[in-house]
């Protein structure tokens, strides 16, 4: 594949530079000792506005997003654009919630959302449910970052799994050594590259394709010609409810993912978080433009590379489009941006998963008197295990399995909303009610996802998240986001369960937090109590 030599050289060079930064990061803003979860897992809990912006942005807008969202727009049109309203709605939605989460976590030294649930509802069982849900939802997400790298490698004509194993081995090594400091430092490079590539793409590619008008017209012509009813450059009557509930449901779910909270808890004070809620939409703008790459690929008549099963792999359309449009050296830069874009979230996700295991399983059930150093040690090792698991997932199983799991992940992480997000506002729910709501919400979500077919790929089950209301006996072709409906079941059960447990006088857990904890800020005596070297 000599045609891709320049691309490959630039890709490899940038990848190596970034890996070097990952190792050096351990010395960046150097602590006296990195052997505690506050240091290794949360970067010293002292990141300012800029670092947080790069870190959280680099974490939420992953390589998989960059590859999958335009692929969805390429295949289905307007429906794929849900990613834009989703990321507009999310920041005002969590503006106050995250500030509360930061405060209570700093007063009590929480590292994971399950830590909070444990203290708020006095229930290790509920905390375990939240922790396991978080682990199950995060794991396939890490595996999918590999799909992002793979899409780029495929477009360069590289097959085989060795390059991915090497990339993840390097990633695992520097995450082990530097903890959250590594992705925080790398995020600067990743996001700068992504911004350059995308801004160049949206100026240069439309100019070559005859302007935006002709791009949208080409897309419209393509969708008009297909027999499928749901596609097009506008929404149809049947998929508008799906669009709204998917955007809103995804927004509700985003900051329930443990890895999103990791970036938030690493911030220095409440102001950093609130400023970021106003500044992070810059990435949404980028995401909206990235989504439109799907239409550009239609106008440019891009043909996706065939996947392992011989069918065209939709995820390769953006890399192939870049290859078609850009000079070789710039395509190399663009590929590096996607590849490095996979490393930042993969590192943060594995740290978040490791923290969940350490705090809510190891410390809760295996070693109640774990020291800070022991916690950090366990987390470091678990972060390695998690990455090996992700690689095995992609190598040993059909990548489709990870995609299905990630779809399920979005639905199940939503089921922690009553305990984690509503818990920040009210202590009204009974721990038993929350647990019952969580269980039935999960069951309802899985049942709905099971019933969803995907005619385009011939799958009978787990074919998407658009649940037909006709399944519930309504005479309509309208669909709704399965996670949204599952959350409604969850909330109803949690409320009824709370009333029932109260009526039966079942003992509720103790609340270890007090009202003032939710508003504490940097410099408050209560926050200062969190001496990072002291046991907590």
């Amino acid at each position: 594949m000599s045609g891709h030599t320049t691309e490959l050289v630039i890709f490899t060079l940038l990848f190596l530079v970034v890996s070097g930064m990952g190792f050096v990061a351990a010395r960046w803003r150097r602590p006296e000792s990195i052997e505690s979860l506050h240091e290794w897992g949360l970067g010293g809990r002292n990141f300012g506005s800029w670092i947080t912006w790069f870190l959280v942005g680099g974490d939420l807008y992953t390589a998989y997003t960059f590859v999958a969202v335009p692929a969805l727009v390429f295949g289905a049109g307007a429906m794929g654009f849900f990613a834009l309203p989703y990321t507009v709605v999310v920041y005002p939605l969590v503006f106050l919630v995250l500030a509360r989460m930061w405060s209570v976590s700093h007063v009590h030294g929480f590292v994971t959302p399950a830590d909070f649930v444990r203290a708020r509802f006095g229930s290790p069982t509920l905390a375990l449910a939240v922790a396991i849900t978080g682990l199950v939802a995060t794991m396939p997400y890490i595996a999918l970052q590999l799909v992002g790298i793979e899409a780029v490698l495929k477009a360069m004509g590289i097959t085989g799994h060795l390059p991915i194993v090497i990339a993840f081995a390097i990633l695992a090594a520097y995450t082990y050594q530097s903890g959250l400091r590594a992705p925080a430092l790398i995020a600067f490079v990743k996001d700068t590259l992504i911004y350059i590539v995308i801004l160049a793409a949206v100026i240069y590619i439309p100019a070559r394709l005859g302007g935006w008008d002709s791009i949208f017209d080409a897309a419209k012509a393509k969708f008009d010609a297909t027999p499928a009813k749901g596609d097009g450059i506008l929404l149809t009557g049947a998929n508008q409810l799906q669009y709204i509930t998917l955007a809103f449901g995804s927004a509700l779910a985003l900051f329930l993912y443990p890895h999103s909270l990791t970036g938030v808890l690493a911030a220095r004070n409440r102001g950093v978080i609130k400023r970021n809620m106003a500044a992070l939409p810059a990435y949404s703008f980028l995401l909206g433009l990235i989504a439109l790459l799907g239409f550009m690929a239609i106008a440019a008549k891009t043909k996706p590379v065939a996947g392992a099963n011989g069918k065209p792999d939709g995820n390769t359309i953006v890399p192939v489009l870049f290859d078609q449009m850009f000079p070789d050296w710039f395509t190399g830069v663009a590929y590096a941006a996607v590849g490095i874009g996979a490393l930042v979230p993969a590192a943060i996700m594995s740290i978040a998963a490791a923290n969940l295991f350490t705090r809510n399983i190891y410390r809760e059930y295996l070693n109640k008197n774990a020291t800070d150093a022991q916690e950090a040690k366990v987390s470091k090792i678990v972060s390695l295990v998690v990455k090996v698991g992700a690689v095995l997932c992609i190598l040993a199983l059909d990548p489709q399995f990870s995609i299905d799991l990630q779809l399920i992940g979005g639905v199940i992480i939503l089921q922690t909303l009553p305990s984690v997000a509503l818990g920040l506002y009210t202590r009204w729910f009974h721990k038993g009610g929350l647990l019952a709501g969580w269980a039935l919400g999960l069951a309802a979500g899985m049942w709905m996802l099971y019933l969803i077919p995907n005619p385009a790929t011939g799958k009978a089950h787990f074919g998407g998240s658009a649940f037909g209301l006709s399944n519930l006996g309504f005479d309509t072709t309208m669909t709704i986001y399965a996670g949204f409906l599952a959350l409604a079941v969850n909330l109803a059960v949690a409320a009824l369960g709370t009333l029932a447990f109260r009526a039966m006088k079942v003992a509720d857990g103790e609340d270890a937090t007090s009202r003032a904890d939710y508003f504490a800020d940097e410099g408050d005596p209560r926050v200062k109590e969190l001496d990072l070297s002291a046991p907590h």
Binding site: V88, P92, F95, L96, F216, I244, G271, A278, R515, D521
Partner: protein
């Protein structure tokens, strides 16, 4: 950073918070933007109007932050 009045418990309540509802609800009203015409710079309404909601979000969130800190 203002020091809290010790006599009064701190809170995050403020009438300004209601402004956050605007960017949460607006992007979910599909009837506002689900059309092709009028186009702006070649973008159908569906795309340019939704992209412009980002600005609404930033403005509202920034105002609430500045008025409540």
């Amino acid at each position: 950073m203002t020091t809290p009045d010790p006599g009064r418990p701190r809170t995050d309540r403020s009438p300004w918070n209601w402004l956050l509802v605007v960017p949460i609800v607006l992007p979910l009203l599909t009837f506002l933007y689900n059309s092709d015409e009028p186009r702006l710079l070649g973008f159908p309404t569906f795309y340019w109007l939704q992209l412009s909601f980002i600005v609404v979000g930033v403005v509202c969130t920034t105002i609430v932050y500045r008025m409540t800190r």
